[in-house]
């Protein structure tokens, strides 16, 4: 081979490597598909329906999406370590009832009610984590049991009645806006940015991911994995409680039924948002995009006059689709990676 041929060949290989690595980079990201899908849906709806891009519709949709994000975070934080929290909705419901009871029945200030409710939610999550760590049972069983425990508390305390006497200052968060952007949306975006930063730059975030990636290896690398598990479940409680409080703030009343439909939403948003089901992966952008996507779809169903009672069926189908897309992505990403490794070896 002449020197020129060698150079030419080298250049060709380099070029292929360039395009290949960019493609690989995109494929490797778990949130690519959901971001693209959300953008497409958004554009589609913008053109097909004149009432879609109205300030009122956007305002409402962004509030719904914000609540979805909060609910999904409660699930995502435990999915990250390879666990799940089936009691998420019940914790949310308990928070709602406690907040309602404090403000309505007791007439206390929101400044007392909200921290107290948040504390209860946090303790619930901590309870899950503690039992899981101490009993070595898996999170499915433990949170299934606590789902019943917390649900019972919700029904026992509220007797099924809503609390409607919620002070105006409490509903500001869920109903007011800053220059047209709901406070709720601003709040969750900030939370997502903080989480994105924590998972990328803080030791605790990296330890959560490592524990989810391989529990044994993480522990044998000096990570106190029991603490990490306890932390993840506690945070799950914090997010569920926050979601509960925001829910009350948006609705203007505390409904004991709040949270009963969170399970499917939390898994749907988290999984579609690129949280790997077997742990070790988290995407703040993906969760935001998938919450928006689900809101868009819900909105679209209403505009198409589809019976809203079928909503969960659609959610389930979308989750299946998302998981299939995910597995295809993994296969593609693995293949392109493997071929690259072999060519360099």
């Amino acid at each position: 081979m002449t020197q020129r041929e060698v150079k030419l060949l080298a250049r060709q290989t380099n070029q292929r490597g360039g395009v290949g690595s960019a493609l690989r980079g995109i494929l490797r990201r778990s949130d690519t598909s959901v971001v693209i899908a959300t953008l497409i849906l958004f554009i589609l709806f913008s053109f097909s329906n004149s009432s879609f891009l109205t300030p009122f519709n956007l305002f409402n949709m962004s509030r719904t999406a914000s609540l979805y994000v909060m609910v999904a975070l409660g699930q995502a934080i435990v999915i990250v370590i390879g666990h799940m929290n089936l009691s998420l909705g019940a914790i949310g419901g308990l928070t709602v009832v406690v907040a309602g009871w404090c403000m309505d029945t007791m007439g206390w200030s929101p400044w007392v009610a909200a921290p107290l409710a948040l504390l209860i939610g946090t303790l619930c999550g901590m309870f899950n984590g503690f039992i899981i760590v101490k009993s070595r049972l898996n999170s499915f069983i433990v949170t299934l049991a606590s789902l019943f425990i917390f649900t019972g508390l919700v029904q026992g305390i509220s007797q099924g009645f809503p609390y409607s006497n919620i002070p105006k200052e409490f509903t500001m968060m869920g109903r007011n806006d800053l220059m047209g952007v709901p406070f709720l949306f601003i709040f969750v975006v900030i939370v997502l940015i903080v989480l994105g930063y924590v998972f990328k730059y803080r030791i605790v975030g990296r330890r959560l991911l490592a524990t989810g990636g391989n529990l044994e290896a993480a522990r044998l690398s000096g990570i106190r994995t029991d603490n990490i598990i306890l932390l993840a479940h506690t945070l799950s409680g914090v997010f569920a409680a926050t979601a509960g409080l925001l829910w009350v703030s948006r609705m203007g009343s505390a409904q004991p039924s709040t949270g009963t439909d969170w399970l499917i939403v939390s898994f749907a948003v988290a999984i579609i948002g690129g949280t790997a089901l077997n742990g070790g992966e988290f995407s703040a952008l993906g969760i935001l995009a998938s919450a928006i996507m689900l809101t868009l779809i819900k909105n679209g169903l209403i505009m198409l006059n589809v019976n809203v009672y079928f909503e969960q069926t659609f959610l389930g189908v979308i989750v299946l689709l998302a998981v299939s897309v995910e597995s295809i992505r993994m296969a593609l990403s693995n293949r392109s990676r493997r071929s690259q490794v072999k060519s360099t070896a």
């Binding site: 803080r202 990636g213 690398s221 000096g222």
Partner: protein
């Protein structure tokens, strides 16, 4: 007679096999050797119909055959005993042995279990599997499961039996028995294709050997004409580097780590030993003899019921790996790197920096990603880890490179004491030598104190100048090979014989 002719197989951007032709005669054990990635597995999979070749043909008794799935191979009595253990844990030994032919035992719509158990027992005996055939497989050891897979293949009356690393989980005794068995079945006219990293076994059992390197056939030779060194040279294409393993200090100065009277109910009773600076202390013994189990106690992964551990002369309180790492700078390289040593889905940089994130923070407590990448790059260069960049996932690396990553994280953490458990399992020969040299240098040049746990006799004899022999959760002997300044005074044969005496 199985012949493969001019087989070529490419995967995207890599040629796994390039114009390979080999004849496999009836009644021979034909070994296929080569480093990881040389094409052995691809060749096996083509013979078994799992892959179809891009060019070339497979001939059976002179006629070209086209295999499109493993089932096609099975129909022609070509059987594969794969490297991965594939058993159904909750089913019995007999069911697992007869798994692919349960339909032969149907009588009036019901399975004739008595006949299955009787037939299975015959094959279990053939492979020296002592467990009762009615026992569930879940409780058996890895070695016993491997024997089940071999029995399964034997019970199919295979004409061509492909064995991919069949001895990786077996003990010495079981291995000897298996080799004996292979000699016997080749006498019945079966072709055995034997793939192994362990050249001693190849030399002991094979009639002919084919060497693959980078997808090409380097040569097929009768085993009698080759020495081990020649085979290695064919495999790696250069002279096998003999280690400059000379003198290494042994028990100089006060001990760095000292275990006094370690006890654990039902296992250890009053076990003591000392590790000194700059030495490699060998833990030799069979799997399950207590070597790894003692290490687990040292790093706090398992509780001890009695005794104390002293580090640098002070009593150490180690309750977890975190204590071991952060309080005493003691690292542990797991024998099971895929399940316990590495996060395969995470990038190289995460796996190396996981022990030193604290150190890499800026003044606001954020991990400096650039510093993390730089740390990873540094060790990738130092340990010659072959990868495109530190962001590549560890799962996509070869066994040898994965092992280097799992050692690197302890070096990054500046660990002075390293417990290295079976460092070269599933690692190809080139990487194995490299890892040996690395361990040697860590002790000799950097003065690290190393406990080397290994069941690989040449490995432990070459590296350690002081070897503790484990048997039934006790240290049954200490073998020394240090003369003036710790230089070895006895040859391999003598040392290994002494170790063997303690085990007997």
């Amino acid at each position: 007679m199985l012949q493969i002719r001019h087989i070529t197989k490419s995967f995207p951007s890599v040629r796994a096999l390039d114009d390979v032709s080999v004849d496999f005669a009836p009644g021979e054990v034909h070994a296929i050797v080569g480093e990881n990635g040389a094409g052995k597995s691809t060749l096996n999979k083509i013979i078994c119909g799992i892959y179809t070749p891009d060019a070339g043909e497979v001939r059976l008794d002179g006629a070209t055959i086209h295999l499109h799935a493993y089932k096609d191979a099975l129909d022609r009595k070509i059987n594969l005993v794969s490297q991965e253990i594939q058993v159904i844990p909750k089913s019995t030994v007999a069911e697992n042995i007869m798994l692919d032919k349960l339909d032969r035992y149907l009588a009036g719509g019901r399975i004739d279990w008595r006949r299955i158990n009787a037939d299975a027992a015959r094959y279990a005996e053939m492979v020296d599997l002592t467990a009762p055939v009615t026992q569930p497989v879940a409780v058996l050891s890895a070695a016993q499961k491997q024997l089940i897979m071999i029995a399964r293949a034997l019970s199919s009356d295979a004409r061509i039996l492909i064995m991919d690393e069949p001895t990786s989980a077996l003990t010495r005794h079981e291995t000897d028995n298996l080799l004996q068995l292979l000699r016997r079945i080749k006498g019945e006219g079966v072709t055995v294709i034997f793939v192994s990293h362990k050249l001693e076994e190849v030399l002991a059992v094979a009639d002919r050997v084919s060497v693959l390197r980078d997808g090409s056939l380097i040569g097929t030779q009768p085993i009698a004409r080759l020495t081990k060194e020649q085979i290695v040279q064919m495999m790696i294409g250069r002279d096998a580097r003999t280690l400059g393993l000379g003198a290494l200090t042994v028990d100089a100065g006060p001990p760095v780590l000292e275990a006094r009277g370690i006890s654990q109910t039902g296992r250890f009773h009053n076990v003591s030993f000392a590790l000194h600076r700059g030495e490699i202390l060998g833990f030799y013994g069979l799997v399950g003899s207590g070597r790894t189990e003692l290490a687990q106690i040292l790093i706090g992964e398992d509780r001890k019921d009695g005794g104390e551990v002293y580090i640098e002369g002070k009593r150490a309180n180690i309750q977890s790996m975190a204590d071991s790492l952060f309080k005493y700078r003691m690292g542990y390289v797991s024998e099971n790197r895929k399940e316990k040593g590495l996060i395969l889905s995470a990038p190289i940089q995460t796996n190396i920096a996981i022990t030193v994130w604290e150190r890499l923070r800026d003044r606001f407590g954020s991990i400096r990603l650039a510093a993390e990448t730089a740390t990873a790059r540094d060790f990738m260069q130092k340990l010659e880890i072959r990868a495109t960049d530190p962001g590549q996932t560890v799962g996509s690396l070869s066994g040898g490179n994965q092992q280097k990553v799992s050692i690197a994280k302890w070096l990054a953490a500046h660990c002075d004491i390293l417990i290295i458990d079976e460092p070269t399992i599933g690692v190809d020969i080139g990487a194995k030598e490299y890892i040996h040299q690395l361990i040697w240098n860590l002790a000799k040049v950097e003065g690290k104190s190393i406990i080397l746990i290994s069941s690989d006799m040449p490995e432990i004899v070459n590296l350690a100048r002081r070897i503790l022999v484990f048997k039934d959760f006790a240290i049954v002997g200490e073998v020394r090979n240090n003369g003036e300044n710790g230089a070895p005074v006895r040859g391999y044969d003598e040392v290994s014989k002494e170790i063997g005496q303690y085990l007997a």
